[in-house]
């Protein structure tokens, strides 16, 4: 066990705990905050593995933007302090969710375990330059595809917002 | 704000603050440097106990009901045999509660006997609110801090006290009346009566006025002298006063002058 192993396992467990708490807590805003823990620990995992830039972008985008958006939405709606039962799901619902989650985990494990190495964590520092070259060279098409997807959703959001604005003009 | 005026406005704001910063600050560092208060500042109200007749006007007019007056009547035995006994008000208590006072000055205005004065003194804060109730001894001490009233205008009529003190003695009634009449006639006959007065501006009454001011201006000297500034004003003015006939005739003269 090297220090890297310990750090990796620690961050991994933290991420797992954060994720579990995020889906099980009855406090809605706490769920968002546990999500911060989970995503932050994931960034820690990336950092341990030497992917510094990925870890930082994870923080910047997920914690700094996505979670902030989630919190913003929660604040706009009525999110009570303390546990709320309004959004509790039925046992059947939970069962289905658990089965689907278990299936996903099994699938991921089946794919990832065979390619996992001997077990010792090795830190492979990727330089930012190499990462950039990869991202915009080898993976340019998926990257562009993603941006197309985002553009489409942006236009859709705009369309929805504008149609509301036009119809809502009378009562405004 | 119009769209066009936006940018200049932004820079103008920056300019104003920068200009202010370049100028010296206007702060008075109070406990270290005395504030420069205007002469009619309303700091605290001083009581000249001798002038107060316990008439209660101030207490009744005070909007806050924060003046407390208690008194009793004393009988003064007749001075001449067979004469009438007189009654006199004696002031037992006079207190102003500065925790309530709103410094409106109504009490000072209504007092018909010049017993209340404004003093610019303001440093009487207390740790206990009850200590803000100043009894008449404390109110009397403030008299030393009352500033001298400002000098009258050059052409203002004399104060009522001066006028009455200047009146010729009553006893030789007919002679004085004749003098009065001639004075009035001559004054009315010549247009520049008013102008005559500045020329005779060194009349004793006027020349005398700075003197009591100087006396009151040094409050430490005046500690034993509890007389009000107004009486001080009148008293020294009285003795050297030669009868001056033109003065009582003044009010009727003024309208004439305006018509001419």
């Amino acid at each position: 066990m090297t220090a890297l192993d310990v750090a990796l396992v620690g961050f991994g467990l933290l991420a797992l705990a954060g994720a579990l708490l995020a889906v099980t807590t009855r406090h809605i805003v706490h769920a968002a905050l546990w999500l911060v823990v989970a995503l932050g620990s994931l960034a820690g995992v990336y950092l341990v593995l030497g992917a510094e830039i990925v870890a930082l972008v994870q923080l910047l985008v997920y914690v700094g933007a996505i979670v902030v958006l989630v919190l913003f939405a929660l604040m706009v709606t009525r999110s009570p302090i303390g546990p709320s039962r309004d959004h509790a799901t039925s046992p059947a619902h939970r069962g289905v969710a658990a089965v689907i989650a278990a299936g996903l985990v099994a699938l991921l494990l089946a794919v990832l375990l065979p390619i996992a190495g001997s077990g010792a964590v090795t830190r492979q520092v990727t330089s930012n330059r190499a990462l950039g070259a990869d991202l915009f060279g080898t993976w340019a098409w998926p990257f562009e595809l993603l941006s197309l997807l985002l553009l489409a959703s942006l236009v859709a959001a705009l369309a929805i917002a504008r149609s509301r604005a036009v119809t809502g003009k009378e009562d405004a | 704000m119009s769209e066009r005026g936006f940018l200049p406005g932004v820079f103008k704001g920056l300019g104003i603050t920068m200009k202010t910063m370049a100028r010296p600050a206007v702060t008075h560092e109070y406990p270290d440097a005395r504030p420069d208060l205007p002469p009619r500042s309303r700091g605290v109200i001083a009581l000249v106990e001798e002038n107060c007749t316990s008439c209660m006007l101030c207490a009744r007019e005070c909007p806050d009901w924060c003046i407390y007056i208690e008194g009793h009547k004393e009988t003064i035995p007749a001075t001449t045999p067979g004469g009438r006994e007189r009654q006199r008000n004696v002031l037992d208590r006079f207190a102003i509660d500065y925790a309530l006072c709103m410094y409106c000055g109504i009490c000072v205005e209504v007092c018909p006997f010049d017993a209340l004065y404004w003093s610019p003194q303001f440093e009487y804060a207390e740790f206990d609110i009850q200590d803000l109730l100043h009894e008449k001894e404390r109110l009397g001490q403030w008299v030393q801090t009352v500033p001298v009233p400002p000098a009258l205008d050059e052409r203002a009529p004399d104060a009522a006290e001066v006028v009455s003190a200047n009146k010729p003695p009553r006893v030789p009634r007919p002679a004085a009346a004749a003098g009065d009449a001639t004075g009035a006639v001559s004054a009315a006959g010549e247009a520049p009566v008013r102008r005559e007065r500045p020329a005779g501006g060194d009349r004793p009454a006027r020349a005398e006025r700075p003197a009591p001011e100087a006396a009151a201006g040094a409050p430490t000297d005046a500690t034993t002298d509890a007389a009000t500034p107004a009486t001080r004003d009148a008293e020294p003015a009285a003795p050297p006063e030669p009868p001056e006939p033109a003065v009582p005739a003044e009010p009727p003269v003024a309208p004439e002058e305006e018509t001419s």
Partner: protein
């Protein structure tokens, strides 16, 4: 890099960063006291410490320590307690990676420009948590506004940093400052403007202090705080000014470039940061607060297009110079 440092060096660097983190915000805070006072034709603090009230902020700290640490009954206690630290610590992390000279830097990270951006973004989370956990309508409104503001101003800031990073060909702050040339002042001027405005909004200083807006929603997310926790928020605000000024100095003003930059480089970096810090104070005293809609309009219609145009200019410049 981590392995190359001895334990002592790590301790020394941490202590140095912590000291800078505690002292520099106090200096800026005192500067604010004095600048604000004189811009309003006042003198400001004059007593604490004797000479021109230099110890005023220390006295303030002593006062904050003595104050009662209030906790609203309806508040979400854990989140409420945690929020001030979450607002403060990211700035500490960010300050650690800002270089004062090529050799004087708390921790030289290869992507330090992204570190500071990520850190400031996380820092705003503290304000959000405080706003929600206080169980107070003013705080909630403040939290909402800071979330909206963060989302709007994060993007132009990232774009502005991307522009200099592109120009320098590196994501490291040390690298950016090393590559800096005087004519970048002109080339990167729009980016500098965008960064200044975005930074001002990020640390919620006037005129972008809609989330705090003391004259309308009391103090936004900080309304319910008192004592030390409130002091932590205040410290975070001034640490924010320090961070933004240093970043401006490093990324846009050439940090240690100047005469005798060898031994006095760190001094140059700080000297260039001081006018920027002064700018933040000056803005606060000169301009009224932007309304929420003006704020969003400014971010999306002025800053974002400007940053994109700047990115284009930078890209063209970089390609031409190849």
């Amino acid at each position: 890099m981590g392995a190359a440092m001895s334990v002592w060096e790590v301790v020394l660097r941490s202590v140095a960063v912590l000291a800078a983190f505690l002292v520099l915000p106090l200096l800026v805070g005192f500067m604010e006291h004095k600048v604000m006072a004189h811009m309003q034709a006042r003198l400001g603090p004059m007593y604490a410490g004797g000479f021109h009230g230099w110890a005023q902020l220390i006295a303030d700290a002593a006062k904050f320590v003595q104050k009662d640490d209030l906790l609203p009954t309806a508040a979400d206690k854990g989140v409420f307690r945690l929020a001030p630290s979450l607002a403060l610590i990211p700035y500490l992390v960010a300050l650690a990676v800002v270089p004062l000279s090529p050799s004087i830097v708390g921790a030289d990270a290869p992507a330090s420009a992204v570190v500071v951006l990520a850190a400031t973004a996380v820092g705003v989370l503290g304000g959000l948590m405080a706003g929600w956990a206080s169980a107070n309508k003013y705080s909630l409104l403040g939290g909402l506004r800071s979330a909206a503001q963060l989302i709007a101003y994060e993007l132009p800031m990232v774009l502005a940093v991307a522009s200099v990073a592109l120009a320098a060909g590196t994501l490291s702050l040390t690298g950016i400052a090393t590559e800096w040339r005087p004519w970048w002042l002109l080339w990167q001027l729009p980016a500098a403007f965008v960064f200044l405005a975005g930074g001002c909004a990020e640390i919620q200083r006037p005129p972008f202090d809609m989330p705090l807006a003391d004259s309308e929603i009391v103090f936004g997310p900080y309304t319910e705080y008192s004592g030390l926790r409130f002091a932590l928020f205040l410290l975070a605000e001034y640490a924010g000014i320090v961070l933004m000024s240093l970043l401006m100095s490093v990324m846009f003003l050439g940090a240690w470039h100047g005469p005798w930059s060898g031994p006095l480089g760190w001094l140059w970096t700080i000297l260039k940061a001081v006018p920027i810090a002064f700018l933040f104070l000056w803005f606060r005293n000169s301009w009224p607060r932007l309304r929420e809609d003006q704020l969003q309009r400014f971010a999306w219609l002025v800053l974002v297009p400007l940053a994109l145009v700047q990115l284009l200019i930078t890209a063209v410049g970089v390609v031409m110079m190849r």
